[in-house]
Symmetry: C2
Subunit: 500 residues, 2 copies
């Protein structure tokens, strides 16, 4: 066997373990009965342990390193596989095993402690864990790349090629352009929530409508499924098994609908990846940011557009006649694009959302620049909420404790959420140059949009970097101005009679 | 580590693999999208291969054999674990690997070929595979125990301690007592099916009623779940994760209901096994026969009793008022216990069911006594159907090709179905001596019956053999006369005014 064949053989075994662990995780997150978990956790840790050993086995390390040193005989795709394998290997292998094990235990425990802290709105309870996690993240970043800024190491984990410098530029634009614009909108918005937004919509009819949407968007049931769970998420093991979940809220139908379209966007991406990548480490979406750009694209550019509801509002209205019979399309469109100050990121509207991310980015940046003590984080958070969203945070549960990410050690993740939204706008304008987007959406020809995204983005899986994809699709590197333009166009039309 | 500790450590790892493979299989059989299977099968075969190697690894063999040779230091339960492990090991280990692999391939292929043969009602298509399977089964039985009758080796696999001699005695009773009794009943039965049996019952209300029954029987949702699938089945990985499936037939509600109660019986058994066995090879029910006795007990002794419907018919009638409003409890009770000639075993009523098994037992016995050629099997089958059920088989799909078992190499399995029913009657009369069964059922106190079964049968898992369980519960070894008594009492009351 050549080194590359050995690599593929070991990788195939790794993928087999990914598959069974993946299926177990899907089951745990959707339907497993609650009493099964003590036994299950103990058993799964054994199989995960085997999987971990496989990823760091001597034979595997040897072939990956040998191939990485000498890639000339490999074709383009093979080179990308090896580069990815080498990067993944270094992520684990450069960290002393002792630290790795200790860190894994820490994040497991921290998530439980964070939950308790959030429940009691008690930051002090979580503080010692957060301190340890931050210390560990800095240490691990040093192991992995002693010459690089630790935050850059983490940022690159979630979005290849992104750095403090690039994010600084992005968030500077967000801050300068959006913060004052949001203030303007909030000043004129109607304080009262339209009653159709919070009316009761029976769950089984919500479900029926979401199933109708699956048809509209062309979700392929031969290659996936839709199920209910407490937190909506998308899951896949390869391009022919892509699943996502929805949560139906009787008193907030639009949360159900837009969360469904959001996850559907993630799922369509995965279904449209070329199946030549199934057996490689290049399957799955290009990056967190590109993935989020697709979910946001389907959710916002399509799902929250006027054109989309010109096509589908009559259906919705007829299904929910008591709730919507007196609501015009115009009022409906305004209602689903309502801007509001909110404490909680996951409930934020499209316009204020990036400000929530701005806050987290600025704080993470300060943490890794050693510019803030953990003790001072809640006050810092609250100050920024006041500054950007004019909100007085009342307790840490609705403030700094609201997100799970830090307790899971996922520092550097948040910025990709805003980045994904910004990517989606850049892609949106590129698409409009080639497709009659409004007409396609209005004519319910989403198929044509899917196809364009498949050919330009989806089919490549991880074989192109985010940078390469953007360049290919839009002709330029990442440029936040499209995002600002998109938001200002949309929301000044909605709130300011088209003036900024 | 002592040998026993090594044994437990290796076994724990095996159980971890059982768990992930088990979850994958549950997923495959309930919701996995159809396009996922080529990739999934390839990946699962890798993990199954690892699991197989673990079961036959040198270290494992060494400790099991050492412990088996010297069990004095072990306690009673530990001795049972080792005896079971040794038996399971021999099942694989005495067969040359080459034969094992070839046989596994054969049964995989045969099941597909059987499906096709059944679809086209073409026995000749399946014949060469069946011939090979029979040859293999004989060869494997010889490897495993050269001094034993090959059919005895197979029978013991599905029901410990059962032999041709014992089954001969059982089926002789069935033949002598039931065949003429069934003829008498069939002669007087009303040819016309009552219309409420085949009326249309909406699926969602069927589902609601089955969920109501879960409450009646005390299924513990913290330790399991109920789901839909094409073929009803029960699945579990340990006592705290026991699931079963139901299929709702709009035009045959009683199939849905009684299949649900049947699977529920299997599931309750698994949920009530003491969790001290979860980490051992003694978890799960004692044997196929004892398991079937429990599903049959819940389905027939409780579910098809008049007392049960005295408690629950008003509920059913109110839920399905158009279909049942003019059906008296008496007619309903007769309808759900209707006896009829049927070609298909899985659709047979309680009374004719054992005759279907009799046919299969007699044929399997002849096969392993070399008294029949594969060529002559269809004619033999049809002759027996005429003899016992007075039916003219029209094609092999409704004849010899109807069951999957032989194509999967499961020879020796069928007899346990009849045995389970017979066990259930023996257990039933023993229970009646201690509990006021009729009153408990009528008063909807199934809990008391569950408890009795838990204490007398369920809690022991595989730590007692079927023989030991029967002796303990009924005070005597297996005795088919209880089964004959039960069927004659019930059906002469229903059809012959209480006379035989």
């Amino acid at each position: 066997m050549s080194d590359f064949e050995s690599f593929k053989a070991i990788q195939k075994k790794q993928k087999a373990y990914q598959l069974v662990l993946g299926i177990a995780s899907w089951d745990s997150n959707t339907e497993a009965p609650k009493a099964c978990f003590p036994y299950r956790s103990e058993m799964l840790s054994i199989v995960s342990g085997e999987y971990f050993s496989m990823q760091t086995g001597d034979e595997y390390k040897k072939v990956v390193n040998a191939l990485y040193e000498n890639m000339d005989d490999l074709n383009d795709i093979q080179q990308k596989e090896i580069r990815k394998a080498k990067k993944d290997l270094d992520k684990i292998d450069k960290i002393p095993k002792k630290d790795f094990v200790e860190y894994s235990k820490l994040v497991n425990m921290s998530q439980r402690e964070w939950e308790e802290a959030k429940e009691n709105s008690d930051f002090n309870h979580f503080k010692p864990y957060l301190e340890k996690i931050i210390k560990f993240k800095k240490k691990i970043a040093k192991y992995r790349n002693p010459d690089e800024h630790p935050y850059n190491v983490l940022l690159d984990d979630f979005e290849e090629d992104m750095t403090i410098e690039k994010y600084d530029e992005f968030f500077k634009t967000v801050k300068e352009e959006l913060v004052p614009f949001v203030k303007k909108i909030l000043a004129v918005k109607d304080d009262e929530m339209p009653s159709f937004i919070t009316a009761k919509y029976p769950k089984d009819k919500q479900k029926e409508f979401v199933e109708y949407l699956m048809g509209v968007f062309g979700f392929d049931y031969d290659k996936g499924l839709l199920k209910e769970s407490v937190h909506p998420f998308t899951w896949n093991t390869h391009s022919k098994d892509v699943r996502f979940t929805v949560r139906y809220l009787e008193n907030y139908v639009f949360s159900s609908i837009f969360a469904a379209i959001h996850e559907l966007g993630h799922a369509l991406y995965e279904q449209q990846i070329d199946d030549m990548f199934d057996m490689t480490n290049l399957k799955s979406g290009a990056s967190m940011g590109i993935h989020e750009s697709q979910s946001r694209f389907y959710e916002n550019m399509i799902g929250r557009s006027r054109m989309f509801w010109e096509a589908h509002y009559p259906k919705l209205q007829s299904m929910f006649s008591p709730q919507l019979k007196n609501v015009s399309l115009d009022d409906f469109y305004k209602g689903i694009n309502r801007v509001d100050e909110t404490f909680i990121r996951v409930e934020a509207d499209e316009l204020t959302y990036p400000l929530h991310i701005l806050i987290r980015y600025e704080i993470e940046r300060m943490i890794f620049e050693d510019e803030v003590e953990v003790d001072d984080l809640p006050a810092l958070w609250n100050k920024k909420m006041k500054q950007y969203l004019n909100l007085e945070v009342e307790d840490d549960a609705q403030g700094i404790l609201q997100d799970v990410h830090w307790s899971a050690g996922m520092m550097g993740y948040f910025p990709t959420y805003a980045l994904g939204s910004a990517y989606s706008a850049q892609i949106y304008y590129a698409m409009r140059e080639q497709l009659d987007f409004d007409k396609l959406v209005k004519d319910n020809d989403i198929e044509a949009i899917n196809k364009w995204l498949q050919q330009n983005i989806h089919c490549f899986g991880k074989s192109m970097t985010p940078k390469e994809i953007l360049k290919r699709v839009t002709g330029e590197p990442f440029n936040p101005k499209h995002y600002i333009r998109y938001l200002k166009e949309k929301y000044s039309e909605l709130y300011l009679n088209g003036k900024e």
